[in-house]
Symmetry: C2
Subunit: 320 residues, 2 copies
């Protein structure tokens, strides 16, 4: 099977669970909690969880679909709270929750999804010891995501962010939830500890690559391809890997904070290409994926293993 | 043993765990998460959890102390988020988290405590099936608390709140976490389902009484006794049971919204006494406690059962 087809199938499965549980909320808080979930999404974390389960124990994924949804709920919770903190007004083509409702409702909507994620982990049809380990891992992961978001906000006021600090941030903010998705998939499918560890590291690596690729897309992709505002990180002066590598080579991107025309962005991009920043950043993302794939080489060969590898490669080839 | 002595012992146990895990945070987010926990608190929910465990299975409480802490973490998480929504600036004699730090940090600090609560449930030294049930119950409870807080905010703009709606609010906002404390204590101690259900209902009832008593204290207790601002609910026009009962008798407390002198408050209180509102509200709280105590009459007699009964009675006799 091709990855694209697999992702579509998973998204359908997850979407139908979402509609079943969140589609008919009849009060304001219920609708606010469901808002982003119903606005779509690629459901990559659920797909990773299901693939990991089948890769260590073929056929087990059908027992862990509620846990796959739990990962999507957790993701949605972090988006709702992050949007409040970052003051973002649009996400997935719809107004953010605190924009459509208000901040108190958005705080509560995030909290509701967070709590519901733990309920869904417990609904997986697997032995209790696996659910307890999965619950602990999800809880620890959420702490890391919060730490990552806090680092992200602190870095905005900090000029001397190092690459090491940047990688720590990306590991927590994006790598941790992909790591948890793959790790929980293996735990719930009773994968042996070596497989679980390998899948956890794989998820972490491709998750970090995903974030770096996101930063590249923000800079390189025209809005008609990405659906996002081109160069928004530049305008905000965000400390991305692109920013740090450019600074290393004497180009201070902080000077471009504020308004930028499409022509100016094109100019900055070609300057960054000339001095080798784009290539180096791309290489970094590729390295994270390559090392991740290396980790799961210990898994027995299977269609799911090959889909996992395709997923890793997709994360650094996607343009949106 | 007297209840007072038992509560002191529990508070010491919980405080020492809190200091161990949160006392040496070296970053901003860690300190913000620990802030309210370290400012003290009566640790009533942990005490209820431990008493429930021992009441169904003597000696089992020593295995469930981390779960008792989980209840306090959950409570602290809801306080931090509620304080943001309600715009409160002081709690437990210290500035609220969003006042001392900022709103984003307070949102994240709450999220961190929430996640950590689930980690601590999993650290109890009990069979995994009990942990899974406790996790599910805690998660469901958190959804209810959020719904309760949302109702509370909606009621501020709603003039026709009924007593039924008020009781639903109090059940979710305050009753649910006390119900969970007692229920989780019994679940983790392997209490039989009838005991667990009885303790859950007991916790719910005394929790609701606790909230009603809180409203009475707000109105009746001078600040030097309660440590709180007398009559703050009156000034805010909050839809407490006092408000609803007064309205039933033709006295509209909404007219006293805004500034009120101590003399005016005294006058309103004697009016409320005259028309029987205070007595009726006190009786309602007493009824919740009485019915709760009735529920746990099926438990075998023990020192812990008698402490539970004392706890219920304390909830409606306390003046702070």
């Amino acid at each position: 099977m091709e990855l694209k087809q697999y992702l579509e199938q998973t998204a359908n499965k997850v979407d139908s669970l979402i509609h079943q549980h969140f589609g008919s909320a009849c009060d304001d808080l219920g609708r606010a909690s469901a808002h982003l979930l119903l606005a779509g999404g690629k459901r990559l974390r659920p797909a990773l969880l299901l693939l990991a389960a089948d890769a260590v124990n073929r056929g087990s994924s059908s027992n862990v679909v509620p846990a796959a949804l739990a990962l999507e709920l957790t993701h949605s919770f972090t988006l709702i709270h992050d949007d409040i903190m970052d003051g973002d007004t649009v996400r997935r083509g719809v107004p953010t929750v605190h924009t459509q409702w208000d901040e108190p409702t958005a705080i509560l909507a995030g909290d509701v999804l967070f709590a519901t994620a733990f309920e869904f982990i417990c609904l997986a049809d697997v032995p209790d010891n696996a659910k307890v380990r999965a619950t602990s891992l999800l809880a620890r992961t959420c702490v890391e995501i919060c730490e990552g978001q806090h680092m992200d906000m602190s870095f905005e006021e900090q000029d001397d962010v190092s690459e090491g600090e940047y990688f720590k941030l990306v590991e927590k903010k994006t790598g941790a939830l992909y790591a948890a998705a793959a790790g929980i998939g293996s735990i719930l499918a009773q994968g042996n500890p070596r497989y679980t560890d390998a899948l956890f590291r794989f998820g972490q690596g491709i998750g970090m690559a995903f974030q770096i690729q996101d930063d590249l897309i923000d800079l390189l992709a025209p809005p008609e391809v990405s659906g996002k505002d081109q160069g928004s990180d530049l305008r905000k002066g965000k400390k991305t890997l692109i920013y740090l590598k450019a600074r290393e080579k004497g180009l201070d991107l902080a000077q471009f904070r504020g308004h930028l025309s499409p022509d100016q962005i094109r100019e900055i991009v070609s300057r960054l290409r000339e001095i080798g920043v784009i290539d180096e950043v791309q290489e970094t993302a590729e390295n994270f994926v390559r090392k991740g794939i290396q980790r799961i080489s210990i898994l027995p060969d299977s269609e799911e293993k090959s889909l996992l590898i395709q997923m890793g490669e997709h994360f650094i080839r996607r343009s949106y």
